[in-house]
Each structure stands twice: as structure tokens, then as C-alpha cells.
Symmetry: C2
Subunit: 471 residues, 2 copies
Amino acid sequence: MSTDNGTPPNHEDGADPNGLRDSSDYINPIWIERLRAHLGAHDSAELMDMMGPLHSADTGDVLEALEAAERFELVKQLGERFDFSALTEVDESVRTELMELLPNADIARGVSGLDNDDAVFILEDMEHGDREEVLSALPTFERLSLKRSLDFPEESAGRRMQTDFIAIPPFWTVGQTIDYLRNEEDLPDEFYQIYVVDVSYNVLGIIPLDKFLRSYRQRRIQEIMNANVILVDANEDQEEAARDFERYDLVEVGVIDESRRLVGVLTVDDMVDVIHEEADEDIKRLGGVGDEDISDNMVDTVRSRTPWLVVNLVTAIVVSMIIGLFNATIEQMVALAVLMPIVASMGGNAGTQTMTVTVRALAMRQLDGRKLRRLITREMAVGLVNGLIFAVLIGVVTALRFGNIQLGIVIGLAMVINLIVAGTAGILIPVTLDKLKADPAIASSVFVTTVTDVVGFFVFLALAGLWFGLF
Amino acid sequence: MSTDNGTPPNHEDGADPNGLRDSSDYINPIWIERLRAHLGAHDSAELMDMMGPLHSADTGDVLEALEAAERFELVKQLGERFDFSALTEVDESVRTELMELLPNADIARGVSGLDNDDAVFILEDMEHGDREEVLSALPTFERLSLKRSLDFPEESAGRRMQTDFIAIPPFWTVGQTIDYLRNEEDLPDEFYQIYVVDVSYNVLGIIPLDKFLRSYRQRRIQEIMNANVILVDANEDQEEAARDFERYDLVEVGVIDESRRLVGVLTVDDMVDVIHEEADEDIKRLGGVGDEDISDNMVDTVRSRTPWLVVNLVTAIVVSMIIGLFNATIEQMVALAVLMPIVASMGGNAGTQTMTVTVRALAMRQLDGRKLRRLITREMAVGLVNGLIFAVLIGVVTALRFGNIQLGIVIGLAMVINLIVAGTAGILIPVTLDKLKADPAIASSVFVTTVTDVVGFFVFLALAGLWFGLF
């Protein structure tokens, strides 16, 4: 997400006790204290000595290690020497907060030096009015190019692409191209392949740099280019593009617009971030938290978590009403109240196991029809086998604990039924959500545990009521 | 994980109804049926027409879409034309099964054409005896190079590295280097940077290809090289190396051995796989499943899930014993049994939310001392605020449902306490596990929900007993 315009620390030399990172790879508190001292003393030469050599990823981590007021102070004191691409490396809440404090004129100056993709990343979350103000302060060419990227949908390839790339005609020779590359000043900072295009920028082929380097000067580009090219539509979701990168081991790919003109390129470093974000999103959604960061404040955190807890409260009340149906049964045999959470809890866990595997398989597009049928069969069988194992275990424990073999049989039966239900629900619920175009990671958890709770309590209490004639 | 030696399908043209993938990016059943027909007819020309043009990633997906017997049949019929690098793209269980069916001589022939890293990936899971047999059938140079990689620890950079790279002396000129690249036959398939080394292969600097391409022929290598190089120790964990790639947007990095000699290179495509695997591992561990794939059979699945369910059974029994303490209380007031799962369930969910955020922050090395203190404060505050919100909600619902305001107050109090406990446990448990060098993703879930269950049931029942004088 950033240009490689700083120096990463050299890890393999072992951690310097006064260096930027400690031996566990965390930002070193000693380093931060030294920075703080210079910040307090307004010693901008020393500040620059410390911050200047940093890679933007490290600058981002330093910003995150500071308090909010210090971050603004640091950016202010560094002035024009602050590397705005570091803003692409911090949590959204840190970026938003800092951007709100900074004057729009400073932001315009800061982003105008950046790669197109970094600038878009920083501008896309700004409020409309502020963003327009920043854009209008930029040089025309840059403004138009940024506006164009911002016109593509959020999280699309068009938003993540870099608009600088190398495009040459097919009739050039290798020698001509090398001379062009050596003499042209305005080239992208980094590139991994050369695009061969016709006059209307339709892509005819690509040449990876290693292959290009090994070709003789007199060869024609069209003879050495690879005409079988993967291209990505600018409107395509970034996640789909990332899947192509992962599957086909790509390093760079061309992005085309509706009229099939080459408008930019995606590079693997941005896709690595996307892959990481998407996995992170899945983990958080499965855990019942939204798009939150550890830097979010308390109010935002409460706001993002409450909806999920409300849903859980409603389902918990439903479960409690199911138990309420067996009021009289429990009154006659309090042991049931003591035992009932065991069946529900085991079902919840078994269901979560199946659901986790299913959600991952869906996210990675592994579940075609045949595999789905296999998975359903397997999970029901696993539910049955685990059900039998744990039925015997809990049956024996219960019989011994309450001196009541029949109670052991009842809880064992309930266990088998609930674990089969757990396996089935754990797979059918995420698959159904996926078919309905909903994200299975978001809602599967709550549905699965509701099913296993309802079935767990109901089956156990109903079986016990019938067996012991308590109705 | 594989060389780019096949043609990926061109997505942006829209899905061909008879093509390899359908519109949702799954392997097309129609395509597979056609392949099956050729397989049945032993029509090797047609088979090759279908399989030949595929990228190894697609070949891998095709293998997974077939039944076990068909996979072996396909590999057998393709013979020497089967692309062994596809084996790096399939689930471990599919690979293991296929490898056991294939004669070691075929495996030796298959891996001998592969990149070093792909060959290691395929060989590392083989049984010792079989592996030695395969290795001894390989040409000396290849055998030694593979053995060397296999000597590095599992999941280390040394295991993932590619041992082909371009190393040149610092006193060469750009022109000399270009001529060498053009004339030398035995070069890596793909490379993104050139390594500058001294006589003992110590790295003096690197030159990215784009920078190299733009330099004039007469320039000396040592003038244009970047002497500030990131290198990775061959014994370093692949996950740490992947973190460097992600943080510093790397595409390729040199790997050095104990004596600091350059022994190989890591490329970003392999690191993308590592990043994905690690995230996947975290998700599965949080969901209580081990290293399992959807291709695993039923017995393996039961085996991998049972330990977790046993742990859960034990904790569920402990929780049930806590409830058992309040036998007499529940007997006097059955409404308590009906309500008690609500407090526990809300605590479990709130605790899981906090734990998820903490586990992710730990995995991404985001939690230094200051952030940890901030997070603890925030989570306890979130617990208090959410506790108050849900105390009022459940208090009102309970008071109305049972016509008992005092019962509403008791459950509300229990809710506040349990949600604060949930926030605290959700953060302290994973952090403690991390400090003890245990993986917080594995065991946090069970500890957190045990704490919230125990506290939830105990506090609610004890408060009710005290309030209503039921002891």
C-alpha cells in the first residue's frame, strides 16, 4: 500500500536495545521515549534524524504507538517532511482522527507527492466536502486521475490500482524500449512487467521484466510478448482480484475499464493487504465483532458490538422460554436444571466446529456440489460418532453422580441427537446464507448456537419428562 | 508455490458455459464430466488437450474435484506429462493419498523437473524411507540441494526458499550483466532482483530489475546497487518472514545461512500462501478445529475434534457442579433455572468478542505495553456500559414476564457483573497464553467461556439466593 521510500530495519542483525523494534518485533518503548523528548523540545533536526530513515510502515507503527495529541504534534513539527504514505499503514480510526485535525491544505500537499493508490486510500474515507477541497487544491492531471479512481465502487480493483504503468507499442524493438526506459524521467517508482498496447490502449500482451532483460536488443516486442494475459476489470471486487493473485502467483496485473482500455495496474503488495483484511474480517465476524480496530474508542466499540449482543439476548430469551415450557418438570426433578446446560454447550461447540470448517471452505471457493454432498455426509457421520462417544461419557458420569442410570440414558440420548443436529446445522446454515448472498461469517454463529441451544434444552427436558412420566 | 508454467483462464471475458470454471469461480461440473469421459475411454490425446494448457493451480483444483480413484487414474494416464507442481496446490490429505499410490520412481521423475521449493513442499510430508528412496533416484546436484533445504526446520524460511537465484560480483558493469543474462542458459524461471555478492556469497547489495533496466551499460554494479538489504535467516519461521513481506511490501528477499552466505530466495507468491495459511489456522483454532481440511475423512475429523470436545465436556461438568451447589435454591424458585442460561450466554458472547479482537491484535503484533493498558481499560468500560444496557433490558423483560421486579433487579445485577468479567477475561486470557508462549488462538475460547459460564451461573444464583433469602 505504500512506496518503498524508506529503509526497513535490518532484522537479521539481532535487536539493538535502542533500536526501533524490540526482540519481539514490537515498537521499542525506549525509542518512543526518545522521540517524545525531541517532540517536547521542538527539536526538529533530531526528530527528522529519527523519523527520516523510517519505512512508511514503520512510521505508521510509530504513529500508532503515540497518543493522539502527540501524533498531531509530530506531523505538525515534521511539516513537509512528514511522509503521508504512512497514513495508509495505520488503523482507520487513527487516520480519521489525524485527518480531521490536519488543515485540508496540508493534506493536499501531502497526498500530491503520493502514488495514486495511496492517495485514493487516504482520500476515500474523507467527508465529501473536505475531499473536494483537497482535490481542488491539486494539479489538474493528478486531480482528474484521482477522481477517476474514486469513481469506481468501494473495494473495487479500480480503487486499489496504481495509474502509473509502462505501455509500449508492439512494433518497438527491445533496444528502443530499453532506451526509452533509460531516458524517460516520468516512470512509475516500481514495475514488474511492461504492457504492450495498441493505439487505443487495448492490451495486446505483457512482458515480465526478467524475460525482457534476457532478450536481445534487435528483437521486436510483439515477438517476445506473452499474448495470453490475465486482466482485471476495474469494477471487479478487490477480493476477487486478490484470489487471482493468490491462485496464479501473480505479482502485477493490468486493470481495464468498460471499454477495455488499460487504466492501471494492481500490484501484489496491495493484494497481500486485501488477503489479510479479508481473513481478518472473517475472523472478526465469526467472533461477533464488526469492522473494529484496537484503536477504536469506547463509544464506537460499544456501538459496533451492541447489535450482536441484542440478537444474542433475543435468542437467549427464546431459549429461556423453551426451558420455561418445562417448569413443572424441573420442579419435580431439579437435577435436570443442573444437567441441562451440558447438552446445549456440547452442541454449541460441535456446531461451531462444523460451521468454522464450512465458512472457510466457502470463503475459499472450495465447496462445489460434489464436495458439499461429501461434507454433509461426513459431518452427519462425525456428529453421530462424536454423539455416541460423548453420550457414553456423560451417561456414565451422570449415572454415577446422581446414582440414577435412567438419567444417564436420557442425557446420553439427548447428546447423540444434539450432536447430529449440530453437525447438520453447522453446515446447512452457512451454506444457505451463502446461497442467499449473505456473508456466512456474519450470522452463522448466532443461528447455529441458537439451534443447538433450543434443540439441546428441548430434547433433554422433553425426553426426561417422557421417560420419568413428569408431564 | 508453483512455477507459472500454465495458462490461467481469462476471467474478464465472462464465463464460458463449457469452460473450466463457472460464473461463481467454482470448477465447472460439465468440464469435469467431459474429462471423466476421456478418462474412462483412456483417450490420452483428449486428456492432454484438456489438462495440458492448465495452470498448476487449476490442475490442483481439478484433482480435488475428482474422486480419489479417478485422481490416481488421471495421473497414471497423463504419465510424464502430469505436472507435479499441481501437488503443491491441493489439500494435504489429497496429496498424501495420491503420493502413497504413486510408485517412488514416478515421484522422483515428477519432482526432478520442479523448482526446489515445490519439490521440498511435496517431499517434506513423505515418510522417511520413501523420501530417501525418491532422493536417491535424483541427480546428485538436485539431491544435495533438496537435502540441504530439508535440513532446515519445518515451516522455516529455508524450507520455503527457492535455491536458484542470480548473483553477480560488484565490479561487473550493467552491460556485462545484461550480456550474462542474455547468454546464460541455466537461470531461474522468474526473478525480480539481482544479488550482488562477494567471493564467499556474502550479500553486498541488491538491484531490483526495474532499476537495473533503467541503468546505462557502462555503470558499475556497485554504484547502482542498494546496499541496505533485508535478508532473512534460513532458520527463521516462515511466519516472521511473511510479516516482513507484508510490512515492507517486498516481492523477493534473500535467504542466508548461519555463515551469512546467500543460499536462496523467498518470493512473495510463497509468502502469500503462508499469510493465508496462518490466518486460516487462527480461524480454525478459534473455532475449535485443528489442522483439518474439508477433504479429510471421517475418522481423521473425529480424531481432530474430539480433544476439544472432551475439554468442553469437562468444563461443562464443572459448570453443572456450580449449578448443583444451588440445588435447593432452584427447587424453591424454578424461575431461576429458566433464566440462568441468559446471563451465562450473554457473558460468553461478550467475552468472545473481546477475545477475538485481542487474539487478532496479538497475531499482528499490535499489542505493545501502552496499547495493552488502553485495551484493558477500554474493554472493562465496554463491559460496564454494555452490562448496564443489557441489565436494564433483561431486567425489564424479566420483571414483566414473571411479574417480579426484584427478580428483574437480581438478573440485571448479575448481567453487569458478568459482562465486566467477560471483558476482563476476554483480554487477560489470550494475553497470558501469549506470554506463556502458547498460541492464544487455540485455547482462549474454552477458557473465556468457562469463566463467563461459571461466573454467570454462580453470580445469578448466589445473588438470587441472598436476595430472596433462599439459603
